[in-house]
Amino acid sequence: MTAVLWPWAAGALRRAAGIAALLALASFILGPLLTLLLWAFAGTWLFPNLWPEFSLRWWTYVLGNADVEKAIRMSLMSAPTATLISAVICIPAAYAFARLEFPAKRVLLLSFLSANAFPKIGLYVSIATLLYRLDLMDTFTGVVLIQLVNTLLFMIWIPTGTFRGINRNLEEAARDAGAGPLRTFFQITLPIALPGIIVAGLFAFIAAFDEAQGTLIVGTPNHMTMPVLMYNLVLSYPQPVGAVFSILLSLPSLVLLLLAQRYLRAGYLAAGYSL
């Protein structure tokens, strides 16, 4: 096993071990997804058959369902709202964390980890009891607030790292040339930081869009987003229904990932996690 790890170890052994590991990991990671994909296009799939009978009939069933349509609308309204609010309040804060000196800066930056330092579901149960008192249960605001909790960490930490990495000399040169602080920020700092901010926005959107457990508690029965509806479909519908809906549910994140892939490849993904 250790031979795998070292550049100076025997080449053939390393390659064989690498290929074995690759195959094992590939079937473990891709197997469930491919099974799901097959189910989405299966009319029926009886047990010992390796292949289903293909059919698109479950697609018409899912797409014609009123609950599905309502959930899609709810998701497409709430997740962008949460991401946008998060960006507006967090990006200036990230700039401050990266560039300005103020009291208790380190403690305040670390405090954003607190949402991660709790078991998520316990936090949602506590938030639910608070929203219950404020009469915000089963409201759009409640759903957006729950999603917002999940975006903060991405929107603070990734842009803070990005702003820190920008050379101060560029900003100072702009200031020396007579640009005000706001103009410098919008014309120099923000464009350079944009890839990092896009990645942060992407992670925040995916976190908000995929949030299921908190929204299940806070949004049922009238404000169900797509992932919340997914619970029902998994538990009480035939398998192809859940499979078709899974594909619908993965589409937005998938499209965004494809659009943003050049930023992800540029190492911002790892950068986000090295914070």
Binding site: G18, T35, P92, R106, P119, L123, V125, R164, S253, Y273
Partner: protein, 297 residues
């Protein structure tokens, strides 16, 4: 160029007093909005939850009656033990798979490494609800794995889903990318020269790993382990969909108390207990991050 601009990471060396005050005020004003959200959505609920659990239903002074009731129930004690056990096993398996993978990705340059490097991130972009459902279709009795086993002539299928095994397998699937990314980012920061140096003085791979890589990567390792523990321990979707009925993980138990049995006080009490158990590892996590933050500045 002015003196303050020499090192972008250096703190501004005591600017004029007025400037410093202005900057401090501006900084605080800018970070205030997200902090208010955090206070309202994390701190306030946590504090009110604790207070609520200590307040008796009929009025009167603070009491531990809620905790006594929860801990007195045998099923709930079983759920706590089950949750901690499943979490420890999941974290151990994720870690045992992720560390070698992170090392392999760090030190190999072949095509297999490049493919693996793309492959292992896939689960990161699959919502947990979908991941759980995909695992069910894959592992369930008469699912795809059963089909393959049947075609291979096996007639006895292991129970892989709707029990602890299912939860662990799905947690592993979901958490591998995250663990590899954190561990990998730490390994990336280790200078090749150190490793070559160890090799030059005759250290074998194991020795190099134990005395150079492991200690240098200690902080990311602690962060990965603690975040994994908290993440698995506080999960709901995976045990809800992939787990069995009883014993259940605490995430499922507290949600049931809240939404099915409509016993808010019990639900919150279980939540606070979960906070307490997780806070033990939470402290390690925050300490590790702040140690690295100090190093980064």
């Amino acid at each position: 160029m002015t003196g303050t601009g020499l090192d972008p990471h250096a703190a501004t060396p005591v600017p004029r007093r007025r400037e410093g005050l202005r900057q401090g005020a501006l900084g605080l004003a800018l970070v205030l909005p997200p902090l208010l959200v955090l206070a309202f959505l994390v701190a306030l609920p946590a504090v009110t939850a604790v207070i609520e659990t200590l307040t008796p239903a009929g009025g009167g002074g603070p009491t531990l009656a809620n905790y006594a009731r929860v801990l007195g129930a045998r099923t709930l004690r079983a759920d706590i033990v089950f949750s901690v056990g499943i979490t420890l096993v999941s974290v151990a398996v994720v870690f045992a798979l992720s560390y070698p993978l992170a090392l392999y990705l760090r030190f190999s340059r072949g095509r297999a490494a490049r493919v693996l490097g793309v492959l292992f991130v896939v689960p990161l972009f699959v919502p947990v609800v979908i991941a759980s459902f995909a695992m069910i279709t894959f592992l369930v009795n008469h699912g795809f794995v059963s089909t393959l086993l049947y075609q291979a002539g096996v007639r006895a299928f292991p129970r892989l889903v709707y029990n602890g095994t299912g939860i662990v397998l799905t947690q592993v699937w979901v958490n591998i990318p995250f663990a590899v990314l954190i561990l990998g980012a730490g390994l990336q920061a280790i200078d090749d020269a150190l490793i070559d140096g160890a090799r030059d003085v005759g250290a074998g791979p194991l020795r190099t790993f134990a005395s150079i890589i492991l200690p240098l990567n200690a902080v990311p390792t602690m962060i990965a382990l603690t975040l994994l523990f908290i993440g698995v321990f506080g999960s709901f979707t995976i045990p809800y969909l992939v787990g069995g009925n009883a014993p259940a993980m605490l995430g499922v138990t507290m949600t049931n108390y809240l939404t099915q049995y409509l016993q808010r006080a019990q639900a919150v009490t279980i939540a606070v207990l979960a906070f307490l158990i997780a806070s033990v590892v939470g402290v390690v996590y925050v300490a590790s991050v702040s140690r690295r933050e100090r190093g980064a500045r």
